[in-house]
């Protein structure tokens, strides 16, 4: 700052002003009169000085720091105000940043591979995991057999490379040296997987096309996290032998730390292995060798300038041509469906959008709602700032009178707002961190190495910065507007007697806006909460309390099918003998665990259904105690017994939905049906009908299901593939332990007991069945909890906002109230007068808010269960809830205003 320049200016202005004064005196004015006349003729010297100084660069910088220091001093002087503003904003910005953290990682992030924008997938759906026929009703294909994938590869040289990845993920028991056997998640990929994605390895080498040939030495690539956790990060792992189930594999390399595969998942693969090794595990049941079994996604790398529409049409042609050669698609009316079948080429830079498809919609709604929260917070703070700037009008007027330019005052207000919003932005990072951690825990309660973290990335920091900037500018608007109209003359008046009421209108509008938005949040919260309640308290048809799911793998432990029966019997005996165990049973998979096996049902004596006929039913294989242990009743006929084994009559139990779909108006018991082909239509005899229960879809009705007994293998299949599939279904992957009362330390108990039977049987996970059931509602719970939090926040903010405005109005109207009371108004009349003022705004807010929340409800409809988006109860309840809160918020200041002593009220002026 050049003080010489300042002095010079000072001296010049003083000299000229004195001259003017002298001239006035020479005209005969008294010295005092001359002084004021000179000032009038000259104008405000401070203003002149300020105007000149503002054109100096150094002053500009200087004044910015001065504004900042002044603002900080002001804020320190009112710590209550500062704290409230910073906390309110931090919650608002933090909620948005937390949700953005997830949005960014889930929806905006690209795979950590080279040039992800050139990755494209054939298909835009996420069907899973094995299909044998047409996919979906609209003919949109995305899941392919290996044979079809090969056709794509040779027909589309447009792709630099085209890789295939398994749609579902499997698990293996992995043994390495003397370490205990571990269950790991694996994904089959084509040999060019890593080179297609452009991913190298952290150590060792990636898979190559030569690894993916029949007869090649079996190799795997481990994920970095798994290498660290289960292999101690030892470099000696590379080139060493690990056993998957009982097959020896060589570890070729370790994937880079950042690489989590081709999609975001709560359980990313622990290892990748070539497609060619699939028959090692599956034998005759191999999907790779079944030309029609669709189980792969195709993802490829395209050159920059390629006509994707033409390529898509070409690939659709390949699909249809291929179908024409497959009897399963052409027979029984399939032929006329083929022209409808097509593929869509979709960008795959973000990976396969499986999780995004499941959670993206909910996340977008949450983003919308968190924005609403931030708007409410802004409205509240704008209101606070308004009230504050009204209180400071005298100060402002004095500053204008002393020569502060308007630009200067507005800049100072802006500085203060921005300081507040950036303080809040900083605090909000903590809110965002814990917020997104909580959201992740709610959304994915069980996960391992999930590639999502609550740590703020540069993108998130930038987001928080921009949101802070935006909010700072937003809530500075109102006070800046007020102050820009400050008149020096106002300094001489008191606030109460001011005839002009600048703040009143914006304050009221902000309040209306707040109430409208609060109703939206409240009704959304109520809708989501009711939906969650309905989901959690629905009749799923199964009992889960005190039951534990144990994930076990006898196949991985090396048990041959012939040893299974005795092994399961021993496990059953040993566990049943434990204290507190009521029942023990086995199943291939458990209801509502996310797994599902289905088949087309062929009823004996009926024509074979065509490919588009609805013949689908789920099936499961269970032990004799299973139905009793999940509380499913036998409605008619009999349960399975120990006598239902290989060699005796193959039997099945069906649920009511099955009976009414396939045997309407008939007795299902005694009927025969089969799967896998018309020649097996007489395979199973129905011996009983059981109650319906939900298997995967918690929202829909129970679907047709048939059960087969654990130890009974159907020996009549005529091809080795079918017989191999039948044999592999003899392995039970789940054990269900039912206790007679709540228990502690189950996992250790299970592991110890199992180790005594055979330490080679690995146990992947022991989970309370209640938690598995609850896992079906993760998204709903997330939505409900977050909207509840948002709704509560909105309610508090709206109430505080109304309270503030009412208190302010009450103070402003003190003298009016005094006069009214002096003229004979009763206290209750005063209260109702005040409350009426509030009521108008609340009503206006509702008028806007209710249609807005109906709209929000319609957006949520597809996420809701057994409650409509326009559910009248919800709206009445949210209006009532808000009404009660604002009534209290309005009544307190109104009562206080009415209790004022009329004499004192009149004397305030």
């Amino acid at each position: 700052m050049s003080s010489k320049r300042d002095d010079d200016l000072e001296r010049e202005l003083r000299a000229d002003l004195e001259l003017e004064e002298e001239e006035q005196r020479e005209r005969g004015l008294s010295p005092e009169e001359a002084h004021f006349a000179a000032l009038r003729a000259f104008g405000n010297p401070t203003t002149v000085r300020e105007q000149i100084r503002e054109t100096w660069w150094s002053t500009r910088i200087h004044s910015i720091t001065r504004d900042a220091l002044y603002s900080l001093r002001r804020l320190r002087r009112s710590p209550g105000f500062t704290t409230v503003v910073v906390l309110t904003l931090a919650l608002g910005i933090g909620a948005n940043t937390a949700i953005f953290t997830l949005v960014q990682q889930m929806l905006l992030r690209s795979l950590p591979v080279s040039d992800p924008s050139r990755l494209y997938r054939i298909g835009d759906r996420t069907h899973c995991c094995y299909f044998e026929s047409f996919e979906g009703d609209d003919g949109d294909f995305d899941l392919f057999s290996y044979d079809l994938f090969k056709h794509f590869q040779s027909a589309a040289p447009e792709f630099d490379q085209l890789a295939a990845v398994q749609a579902g993920g499997g698990g293996f028991v992995v043994r390495w040296q003397n370490a205990p056997a571990r269950p790991m998640r694996a994904e089959y990929v084509s040999g060019n997987y890593f080179s297609t994605l452009g991913v190298n390895t952290f150590a060792g080498r990636p898979l190559s096309s030569s690894d993916d040939l029949v007869g090649a030495a079996p190799v795997i690539v481990l994920s970095y996290a798994t290498w660290q956790r289960d292999f101690g990060g030892s470099p000696g792992v590379i080139g060493s032998t690990v056993y998957l189930q009982k097959h020896a594999f060589t570890v070729a390399g370790i994937a880079p730390p950042s690489f989590y595969g081709d999609r975001i998942s709560p359980f990313p693969p622990d290892l990748w292995l070539p497609l060619a090794t699939e028959p090692l595990f599956e034998g005759a049941n191999s999907a790779l060798n079944a030309p029609q079994t669709a189980w792969l996604y195709a993802i490829g790398r395209l050159p920059q300038n390629i006509d994707r529409t033409a390529l898509q049409a070409k690939l659709t042609g390949v699909l249809q041509q291929w179908m024409l050669t497959r009897p399963a698609f052409t027979e029984r009316g399939g032929l006329k469906e083929i022209p409808k079948q097509h593929v869509v080429l979709s960008p795959a830079g973000g990976g396969i959008q499986k999780l995004q498809e499941q959670t993206g919609k909910g996340l977008r709604i949450l983003m919308l709602l968190s924005t609403v929260v931030l708007l409410i917070a802004c409205a509240n703070i704008a209101n606070l700032m308004l009230a504050r700037s009204m209180a400071q009008r005298t100060e402002l007027a004095v500053r204008v009178g002393l020569g502060a330019t308007r630009a200067r005052i507005i800049r100072q207000i802006l500085t203060e707002s921005l300081i507040l919003s950036f303080l809040a932005g900083t605090v909000s990072l903590a809110v965002a961190y814990f917020g997104s951690r909580a959201i992740l825990a709610l959304a994915f309660p069980i996960s391992q190495n999930m590639p999502m973290s609550p740590h703020p990335s540069p993108a998130v920091l930038l987001f928080a910065f921009l949101v802070s900037l935006f909010t700072g500018l937003l809530f500075a608007l109102a006070p800046a507007w007020i102050s820009s109209s400050a008149q020096p003359a106002e300094a001489s008046r008191t606030i109460n007697s001011s005839s002009r009421d600048h703040a009143s209108l914006p304050q009221r509008l902000l309040l209306i806006f707040q109430i409208a938005l609060s109703i939206v949040l409240l009704s959304s919260a109520l809708l989501a909460t009711r939906s969650l309640y309905n989901l959690e308290h629905q009749k799923t048809g199964i009992e889960t309390a005190n039951r534990y799911s144990v994930q076990l793998d006898l196949e991985g432990a090396g048990y041959t099918p012939s040893r299974l029966n005795s092994a399961y019997r021993e496990i059953e005996d040993r566990f049943s003998a434990l204290p507190g165990v009521a029942r023990l049973s086995f199943a291939r998979y458990l209801p509502l665990e996310g797994n599902e096996w289905g088949s087309c049902i062929l009823v004996q004596g009926r024509p074979t259904p065509g490919p588009k006929d609805n013949c689908f039913a789920d099936w499961n294989r269970v032990s004799t105690q299973f139905l009793a242990s999940v509380g499913v009743p036998i409605l008619r006929g009999r349960d399975f017994t120990q006598a239902d084994q290989t060699g005796s009559l193959p039997v099945a139990l069906v649920n009511q939905a099955f009976a009414s779909q396939f045997f309407p108006g008939q007795d299902a018991i005694g009927q025969h049906f089969g799967v896998n082909g018309p020649e097996y239509a007489g395979a199973f005899q129905i011996v009983g009908v059981i109650g319906d229960f939900k298997l995967t879809d918690v929202r829909g009705l129970a679907k047709p299901l048939f059960l087969r007994p654990m130890g009974q293998e159907y020996a009549g299949y005529k091809t080795p593939e079918l017989q191999a599939a039948e044999t592999s279904s003899m392995y039970m992957n789940r054990m269900l332990i039912q206790f007679d009362r709540p228990q502690q330390g189950i996992e250790q108990l299970v592991r110890n007991t199992m180790a005594k039977i055979d330490p080679g049987i690995p146990i992947a996970r022991v989970t309370p069945y209640d938690n598995i059931l609850a896992g079906n509602f993760n998204q709903d719970r997330l939505l409900a909890r977050l909207t509840e939090a948002f709704g509560l926040l909105a309610l508090v903010l709206a109430s505080v906002g109304l309270y503030g405005v009412m208190s302010y109005l009450a103070v402003r109207r003190t003298s009016e109230i005094g006069i009214r009371m002096a003229l004979g108004a009763s206290r209750s009349q005063i209260v109702s007068l005040m409350v009426r003022t509030a009521a108008i705004q609340v009503l206006a807010g509702l008028l806007i808010g209710v249609p807005a929340s109906l709209f929000a409800g319609s957006l949520m409809t597809h996420l809701l269960y057994q409650v409509r988006g326009n559910d009248p109860f919800t709206f009445i309840a949210s209006v009532a809830l808000l009404g009660m809160c604002v009534a209290a918020a309005a009544a307190i200041p109104a009562t206080r205003a009415a209790s004022v002593d009329p004499i004192r009220a009149l004397r305030t002026n």
Binding site: L9, A15, E22, A41, F42, G43, P45, V48, I52
Partner: protein, 135 residues
Amino acid sequence: MVEYLPSAFIEGRTSSMTKEQAKQRANLLQGTLDMLILRTLIYGPAHGHEIGKHIQRTTNDFLQMQHGSLYPALHRLERRGWVASKWETAPDRNREFKYYRLTDKGRKQLLAEESEWKQMVDAVSRVMWPTAEEN
């Protein structure tokens, strides 16, 4: 840096003049203040007070400005190099004032502004008093 001339630089202050009129007059004259100052300095160096007084007197008080408004303009002209300043003792008063004098650059600027203004006035009068022009 953006140069600007707020309309408040020249502002009427006679009570008969409404705020609106003053604003209009100021708008009309926006940008001409520089020219008026430069023209005033043709007669020789002057300090701010003298310049203000001169403009006011010459226009028969039509342009009554708060003298203070001149200074931002003077400082701006100085930074552009159109005027130069020096502290000198006034002949009639026994103390120093900051005297501004026209530089060569300022003289050129004045000529440019003057011809521009003439063209403007010419053009405006052709529209306003066409008959007088014909006669």
